[in-house]
C-alpha cells in the first residue's frame, strides 16, 4: 500500500494545484462563487490540500489522509458534482481504502483488495456498457468522441483516425475487449502485468485525445494494489 499512498498523494497534489491555478485565472469572478464554498475559503482549502498532499509524499499519516479525503470531497460538493468525473471518484475510493488500511492495519489486505476490485469492476462495467451499445460496436461512438474532443482539436492524429473508420472500429473493439476481460487478471495473476500495461497506455491516450490528465494519475495510484495482491498470493 505504500506506493498506493504515495501515488494518490501525488495525484491529489496535482488536483489541488490545478484548483489553485484556476482560481488565480478566473478574471471576472469565479463561476461557482454563488455556492456555499467560494473565494478565499475555497482557496484556503486547496492550499491546505496541496501542502498536506506534498507532506504525504514523504510521510504517511492517517490524519493527513483524512484531510485529503475531506478536502477532495468538498471540491465535488462545491462544483455540484465531480470536477472531473471518474477521476475524482477513483481518488475518493483510493483515499478511503488508504484511510481504512491506516486506521485498521489488520484490514490492510482487505483495503488493498477493495482497490483492486473497484478498479477491475470499473473497467468491466465500462466495457460491458460499450459491448451492449450498438454505436460502440460499430465504432461510430469513438469517432464522435474524437470529433468533439476536449483536447487540442483538430490534430493530425485525430484527423487520421477519423478518416479511417475501420481503424477506429478496431480501436473501439480493442478497448471494449480489454475492459471486459480485465477481471481475468484477478483469476490469472500472471496476465495482470499485460492488463495494467495496456491500462497505462489507455489512460495516456485518453489524455492525448481527450485532455483527461487526471484519469492517468488517479488510476495509476491504484495499480500498485494489484502488485501487492499478486505478491501476497505467490
Amino acid at each position: 500500500m505504500n506506493w498506493v499512498e504515495t501515488l494518490i498523494a501525488w495525484a491529489v497534489s496535482l488536483q489541488a494545484l490545478e484548483q489553485i491555478l484556476l482560481q488565480r485565472r478566473l478574471h471576472d469572478g469565479d463561476p461557482w462563487q454563488t455556492t456555499w464554498m467560494s473565494g478565499p475559503l475555497f482557496s484556503a482549502t486547496q492550499w491546505l490540500r496541496f501542502f498536506v498532499a506534498i507532506a504525504c509524499l514523504v510521510y504517511s499519516w492517517l490524519p493527513a489522509f483524512l484531510i485529503l479525503f475531506l478536502t477532495t470531497y468538498l471540491v465535488s460538493v462545491r462544483y455540484r458534482g465531480t470536477f472531473n468525473g471518474g477521476s475524482d471518484t477513483v481518488t475518493l475510493h483510493v483515499l478511503g481504502a488508504v484511510i481504512v488500511a491506516q486506521a485498521f492495519p489488520q484490514f490492510k489486505s482487505e483495503a488493498q483488495f477493495y482497490i483492486v476490485l473497484f478498479v477491475a469492476l470499473s473497467y468491466f462495467v465500462a466495457g460491458l456498457a460499450k459491448l451492449l451499445t450498438p454505436v460502440w460496436r460499430d465504432g461510430s461512438a469513438l469517432t464522435q468522441f474524437l470529433l468533439f474532443s476536449n483536447a487540442a482539436f483538430p490534430n493530425r492524429f485525430t484527423e487520421s483516425v477519423r478518416r479511417n473508420p475501420n481503424r477506429v472500429r478496431k480501436w473501439a473493439w480493442f478497448v471494449t475487449l480489454w475492459e471486459c476481460l480485465f477481471p481475468i487478471g484477478l483469476l490469472l495473476p500472471s496476465t495482470m502485468g499485460v492488463f495494467l500495461s495496456v491500462g497505462v497506455l489507455f489512460h495516456l491516450l485518453n489524455f492525448y485525445f481527450f485532455g483527461l490528465n487526471r484519469f492517468f494519475w488517479a488510476w495509476l495510484a491504484a495499480y500498485p494494489a494489484f502488485f501487492g495482491m499478486i505478491s501476497q498470493r505467490f
Binding site: L14, L17, E18, Q19, L21, L22, R25, L26, H27, D28, G29, D30, P31, W32, T34, T35, Y79, R80, G81, T82, F83, N84, G85, Q144, N150, A151, A152, F153, F207, Y208, G211, N213, R214, F216
Partner: protein, 92 residues
C-alpha cells in the same frame, strides 16, 4: 467567426490542465440545465463560464457585446436533433 476550442494541450498538461478541466466541470451545470432549464444558479454558472472562456481565449481579441447559445445535439439514426438549452448575452 473564430472557432473556440479548448486550450491546446502541452506536455505539462499531463500534470496540470486547469482550463481544460474547467470544461468538464461546467458540464455539471449543463446537466442541471437539461433537467431544469430554469435553474437560476446553473444558468448563472454557465453565463460566467462562457464569459471567462471568451475573455481568456487566445484567438479572441475583440471586446464588446456578445451573444451565445448552448444547444443539446442528440443523434438519432445518424440525424442530429438540436435543442436549445440556454441563450445569453453580455459585454466583455
Amino acid at each position: 467567426m473564430p472557432v473556440l476550442t479548448p486550450p491546446r494541450l502541452r506536455w505539462h498538461s499531463l500534470f496540470i490542465n486547469p482550463e481544460g478541466n474547467l470544461y468538464h466541470a461546467s458540464c455539471n451545470a449543463l446537466e442541471q440545465l437539461i433537467f431544469d432549464p430554469n435553474d437560476p444558479e446553473a444558468r448563472q454558472i454557465i453565463h460566467r463560464t462562457v464569459r471567462h472562456f471568451l475573455l481568456t481565449h487566445r484567438r479572441l481579441e475583440a471586446r464588446g457585446a456578445y451573444q451565445f447559445k448552448i444547444s443539446l445535439v442528440q443523434l438519432h439514426d445518424d440525424k442530429a436533433v438540436e435543442e436549445d438549452v440556454l441563450t445569453g448575452e453580455g459585454d466583455l
